[in-house]
């Protein structure tokens, strides 16, 4: 090979006054396409139903115009469900992107780190154990909030158990799997010993679903999600050198323990928001960052694209669950059925190259 002086092909930059960033056209166009696709699926999911509404009417109504009849069907009946799907999907996608980046391992996701199983165990406990205290808790804070607390508690427990002079990816995952297994054992035990009517109620909660969302629940989830995403976007810049490990990050001036603690807390809270809004929806947090990484051709999970893929997967799955299948299935069943094969397809295609 000839030794030649080549001008290094650096990523081009965009500069607007004091603001500058690296120009990555592929990542930008993939993200914009994903956003457009998410909006489209969002509108379609509102349009489809027992009383079909045309797509133009849906878009007009969302933009504040539209007729009174459409407005009722769209805003009061169908919007909460679609919006819940959007919030839950974005929250799970971003949460997965953060946990996978922190653990530097694609296996890490809120599902593996015990958040989902902890929330499920608490919810099933409250549903099946018909004691005075359990009923009182459900009455005062609601099942979703109690489950959220359970998920957060389990997530933090895993974090502190995994802590040994910093957090090691494998240790975090191993402890997460162990604690999840424990929580799942508790859930199964409760279901086996419980009254059959309670079991039916618990099962309905255990399979994630977007059905019967009220505006109140959706607003809470939406605002919590927005605040958390804002915090994540502020800290994300400091996180970038952490893909190279703690020591390199420290050498580059990052206070890595603090950045990691803030981001992991955000990831746990985002997963908690998702669980309390839709129940445990499996697989979205695991698969969305991996799909986003491959679509955007990034070496690490891109946050925005991961959130969008999560939303696309969740709303799309809900749409399929409601319409394409002969029986109406909960969304959680379909996310696994669609997301799994798609990730396998991407991996196989990468192997063939």
């Amino acid at each position: 090979m000839n030794v030649t002086e080549v001008k290094p092909s650096l990523p081009p930059g965009v500069r607007l006054g004091r603001v500058s960033f690296v120009w990555r056209p592929w990542l930008l166009s993939v993200t914009l396409l994903l956003a457009a696709a998410t909006f489209l699926v969002f509108c379609v999911s509102i349009a489809v139903g027992d009383f079909p509404v045309g797509l133009p009417q849906v878009i007009a109504t969302i933009l504040g115009r539209g007729e009174q009849v459409d407005r009722f069907i769209i805003m009061d009946l169908r919007m909460p469900r679609a919006l819940a799907g959007l919030v839950v999907g974005v929250a799970l996608g971003v949460s997965g992107a953060i946990t996978q980046s922190i653990a530097r391992n694609p296996l890490a996701s809120p599902d593996v780190l015990g958040i989902t199983s902890g929330a499920s165990a608490v919810a099933v406990f409250l549903v099946t154990v018909s004691g005075g205290t359990a009923a009182a808790i459900v009455d005062s804070v609601g099942l979703s909030a109690a489950a959220l607390a359970g998920g957060l508690g389990t997530g933090l427990l895993v974090y502190f158990l995994a802590w040994r002079r910093g957090v090691d990816g494998f240790r975090l995952i191993l402890i997460g799997i162990s604690v999840s297994a424990l929580m799942e054992a508790i859930t199964t035990w409760l279901l086996v010993t419980a009254d059959i009517r309670d079991v039916a109620r618990a099962q309905a909660w255990l399979v994630g679903s977007l059905e019967d969302r009220s505006w109140g629940e959706v607003w809470t989830a939406l605002w919590c999600g927005l605040v958390l995403l804002f915090v994540v976007s502020c800290v994300a810049f400091q996180f970038r050198p952490m893909h190279f490990g703690d020591e390199v990050a420290a050498g580059l001036g990052v206070r890595y323990t603090r950045v990691r603690a803030v981001l992991l807390l955000c990831a746990v809270l985002l997963a908690g928001v998702a669980v309390s809004a839709a129940g445990p929806v499996p697989f979205v947090a695991l698969v969305a960052p991996q799909v986003a990484m491959r679509l955007a051709r990034c070496p690490t999970p891109p946050m925005v694209a991961s959130g969008l893929v999560g939303a696309l997967l969740l709303i799309g799955s809900d749409l399929v669950a409601r319409t394409a299948l002969p029986v109406s299935l909960p969304v959680g069943v379909v996310t696994a059925a669609i997301g799994g094969p798609f990730l396998v397809y991407l991996l196989v295609r990468a192997n063939l190259r």
Partner: protein, 297 residues
């Protein structure tokens, strides 16, 4: 694959812009003052004093487990001493902001790992992190410095390649390039030749010497004593958490010291190709009769 690297002497080492006048005057820029460092109750370094002279290559050597890497990590603020302080340009490094330390001192840990698929240009560009902010993520300064760092380490023509597709020696050059892009004139390298064969190790150390020639102060940890002797102007010899000897290799490396520090029986001779001493270890096998270690009466 070895030839594909850009010949460094051809472009000539571009003088690092950050060579500061603070380096002159003989005062050390980085020093440990009475530091004690330990992990969970076990003391690894005990009341250690060391000053890093400016503008030269200082290499820390010593037997396994003597605290070499611990000292380097303490000097770079990765570890916080239980007692004592590390002083950087006259200030206690523990009181400085992490980001300000990163603007003065570049650190390359042992065997760092990049995410799969990351390109060389993106990795080296990350070295600009301490100079960037949320709004200012890629200025024209950044582009210039990264270009120079790539050229100095001879990896310009690898800029588009994924880091994981490179050979060990090339990869180490890329990491050094990232540390250079940080724009500091003080570089701390923890065993930069780990996992490299001798040819690549020499290649990387030649690069380190180029950086030194361009005005950088380098502190590194090395295992290979002969390479350390050849490439450093200042050796810090450690044993059991304290400094046994410090100075120019010609003054420091003696058969007695090697025995004391490492328990190594060796002959120290003149290097036939260099102006430094050469260490010839005396094992038990295939040693000529006259050279067996003297049995003390």
């Amino acid at each position: 694959m070895y030839k594909s690297q850009v010949n460094l002497s051809k472009g000539g080492p571009v003088v690092a812009q950050s060579v500061t006048e603070a380096a002159v005057g003989g005062t050390s820029r980085l020093a440990a003052r009475g530091v004690t460092v330990g992990y969970g109750g076990r003391v690894v370094i005990d009341e250690l004093d060391v000053a890093i002279p400016p503008g030269v290559i200082t290499t820390i050597i010593g037997p396994n487990g003597c605290g070499k890497s611990t000292l380097l990590k303490t000097l770079s603020r990765l570890l916080k001493p239980a007692k004592g302080a590390v002083v950087l340009d006259g200030e206690d490094i523990g009181r400085l902001r992490t980001r300000d330390v990163a603007k003065k001192l570049g650190l390359l840990p042992q065997a760092p790992v990049a995410p799969e698929g990351l390109t060389v240009a993106d990795l080296v560009a990350r070295g600009r992190h301490p100079h960037q902010s949320w709004l200012r993520q890629w200025s024209s300064d950044d582009a210039e410095v990264v270009e120079r760092a790539l050229a100095m380490t001879g990896v310009s023509d690898l800029a588009d390649r994924p880091v994981d597709a490179l050979s060990g020696g090339q990869r180490q050059r890329v990491w050094i390039s990232m540390t250079l892009a940080q724009g500091t004139d003080l570089l701390l390298l923890d065993e930069p030749t780990t996992y490299l064969d001798l040819a690549h190790a020499v290649d990387v150390l030649d690069l380190v010497d180029d950086l030194h020639e361009s005005g950088c102060t380098v502190v590194m940890v090395l295992h290979d004593l002969n390479l350390a002797t050849r490439y450093s102007d200042n050796l810090v010899v450690m044993r059991e958490g304290s400094v046994l000897a410090q100075g120019h290799p010609r003054d420091v490396i003696t058969a007695e010291l090697l025995d004391e520090a490492f328990g190594l029986k060796a002959r120290v001779i003149d290097d036939p190709v260099g102006d430094r001493p050469l260490i010839v270890p005396i094992g038990r096998t295939h040693v000529l009769p006259g050279h067996l270690p003297a049995v003390e009466p």
